[in-house]
């Protein structure tokens, strides 16, 4: 597979990727280091139990003083997906529609490459960026073993993988919207709206009864909102998230074949 476009886009996004990764790594280390101070805080669990709707808004379900609960409530249910989505949705909007608006897309679209190959390279560049962020956070969480966190390595790896897939799903959906419309702002706006509504659906489904049956429609449910940090991700989680990614990839390729490039 040609790799020039992957190298190019990674080099163009190097600074922002570095910023996201360093910021998230520092935040994770702080969260990990703070855990011993809250490990025996039953009052925090009581607070969550008393106001489960507000807690659910932040993706927190169940006790927060356990290792899994602490990581879920402070990292995997909210901040990591948020940063991951900022990274992938931002790239998804810039990769085709944004570069077309900048006038640089024609530079690569006139190279001897099929349009489908260009999309595949860009999807790979997105997955690599998401992988760097997820791996950095996972590495910092593993450090948590020295701070009383007892989460297993397998759980950390599996939640990192589903978070990565979550980012890629929304990133590709954004890229597909960009390829259909040629508009970076429309892609960014629609991709963000999809992600926010999906997040609310998955997090509030545990406390709003009429939302409960439709939680399966949210990629968050299959990624971070079904206790994956404690139980580990299931095969079905990977399958659904991968299927969404493939559908996004197909939609992007189809739309990009039809896009009038400037």
């Amino acid at each position: 597979m040609p790799t020039e476009i992957i190298r190019l886009d990674l080099s163009l996004r190097r600074n922002s990727l570095l910023g996201y990764t360093l910021g998230m790594a520092v935040y994770t280390l702080v969260i990990v280091a703070l855990y011993p101070a809250f490990e025996h805080s039953n009052s925090l669990d009581k607070l969550i139990e008393d106001d489960s709707t507000i807690s659910a808004l932040f993706g927190v379900t169940g006790p927060i003083s356990t290792s899994g609960g602490w990581l879920n409530g402070n990292l995997y249910a909210n901040f990591l997906p948020l940063l991951m989505l900022l990274l992938t949705i931002g790239y998804g909007a810039a990769a085709l529609a944004g570069q077309d608006e900048d006038g640089t897309l024609c530079l690569i679209a006139t190279l001897p490459r099929r349009r489908a190959t260009i999309v595949l390279e860009k999807a790979a560049a997105m997955a690599l960026q998401a992988a760097v962020l997820a791996a950095a956070v996972a590495a910092c969480v593993v450090v948590g073993r020295w701070f009383d966190l007892t989460t297993t390595l397998g759980s950390v790896v599996s939640i990192s993988a589903t978070t990565l897939l979550l980012g890629v799903d929304f990133g590709l959906a954004t890229m597909a919207i960009g390829a259909s419309t040629g508009s970076r702002s429309l892609a960014l706006g629609t991709g963000t709206a999809l992600a926010v509504s999906s997040y609310l659906l998955a997090s509030l489904a545990s406390v709003v009864s009429w939302l409960h049956p439709v939680r399966y429609a949210s990629p968050f449910y299959w990624s971070v909102a079904n206790n994956q940090v404690i139980d580990g991700a299931r095969l079905g989680d990977y399958a659904v998230l991968t299927a969404i990614a493939l559908a996004g990839l197909y939609a992007t390729v189809t739309a990009f074949q039809r896009l009038d490039i400037h």
Partner: protein, 304 residues
């Protein structure tokens, strides 16, 4: 008949209500410089984008190097060099990184020709593109278009932003390219540039082809410009009533006529007014172009 470097048949592109290119028939023979002229917004860039497969025609078809522009765009891209009209580079990458990128992507292993071009055009290689002037960015674009010695070069406003020295260098490069048997399709709104380089020109206005011929034949077919001076002022109506004659200027005892019809009746009329001096020549090509540019055809709309 040899395979045309470029051939379009009934090529049209419509954006919503705007007809950017209308029913375009073009044929560019291999081994020549073809000038594609038109005012801003005439449809030149849209034509090029369809040739490159970047945009799909609304109707008609385009073939480049004998290949279908839509179906075989990968093979076409392998064999052409392209300079966009509004060249945008990656702001943070320096000149050298741009050259490396395009060389790697096109599988150019021997970069000696690319470096030679960089030297000829005095390309700034070590500064980020965002710090480069328009001319320096353009030179980088020219190197990227020529560096893999493509069979066909499609250049949209190639000398935009270049100083006269670099324009000369560009013209030398184009002549060398054509002498090598390769083809150059040159889109421009600058008549002088095209006139100096092109074997054939096509003129497009409001998306429609209004003329296509060799530069020499276009020049020969322009109307005659006749300037006459007389001993005393003459009545211009005696000239204006002649077939194909219009009076374009009158200055004291002098008169300037544009003659699109036979010359003999004009000379007879001049002789009857006791002339002092008569000068006859074909109108400048510029005048023809200006005339073609000026009058919009019916239904005409825009756009590049």
């Amino acid at each position: 008949m040899s395979t045309a470097a470029i051939e379009t048949s009934s090529l049209s592109k419509t954006y919503r209500a705007t007809r950017a290119v209308v029913d375009l028939f073009l044929r560019v023979e291999p081994g020549q410089v073809f000038g594609y002229l038109g005012p801003n917004g005439a449809g030149k860039t849209t034509t090029i984008r369809m040739l490159l497969g970047l945009q799909r025609p609304s109707t008609g078809r385009a073939a480049v190097l004998g290949l279908d522009a839509q179906v075989d765009s990968v093979e076409i891209h392998r064999r052409i060099g392209y300079l966009p009209g509004e060249l945008a580079l990656y702001p943070r990458l320096c000149g050298r990184q741009h050259i490396d990128l395009f060389a790697r992507a096109r599988g150019v292993r021997d970069r000696s020709f690319a470096l030679q071009l960089c030297e000829r055009f005095a390309v700034v290689l070590d500064r980020p593109a965002r710090e480069l002037s328009k001319g320096n960015r353009q030179k980088l674009g020219l190197v990227a278009a020529f560096m893999h010695r493509p069979e066909l070069l499609i250049l949209d406003e190639p000398t935009s932003g270049l100083d006269p020295l670099m324009q000369d260098e560009f013209e030398r490069l184009v002549r060398e390219t054509v002498a090598d048997g390769r083809t150059v399709f040159l889109s421009s709104h600058e008549l002088d540039e095209v006139q100096r380089l092109a074997d054939r020109v096509a003129i497009i206005r409001s998306g429609r082809l209004v003329a296509s011929d060799t530069v020499e034949r276009l020049r020969r077919n322009t109307p005659l410009r006749v300037e006459a001076r007389f001993r005393r002022p003459v009545d211009p109506t005696s000239f204006a009533k002649l077939a194909g004659v219009s009076v374009t200027a009158r200055d004291g005892d002098g008169i300037t006529l544009q003659v699109a019809g036979p010359l003999a009746p004009v000379l007879t009329e001049i002789a009857s007014h006791d002339p002092l001096d008569v000068l006859s020549r074909h109108a400048d090509l510029d005048e023809l172009f200006l005339e073609l540019y000026r009058d919009p055809p019916p239904e005409a709309t825009h756009a590049d």
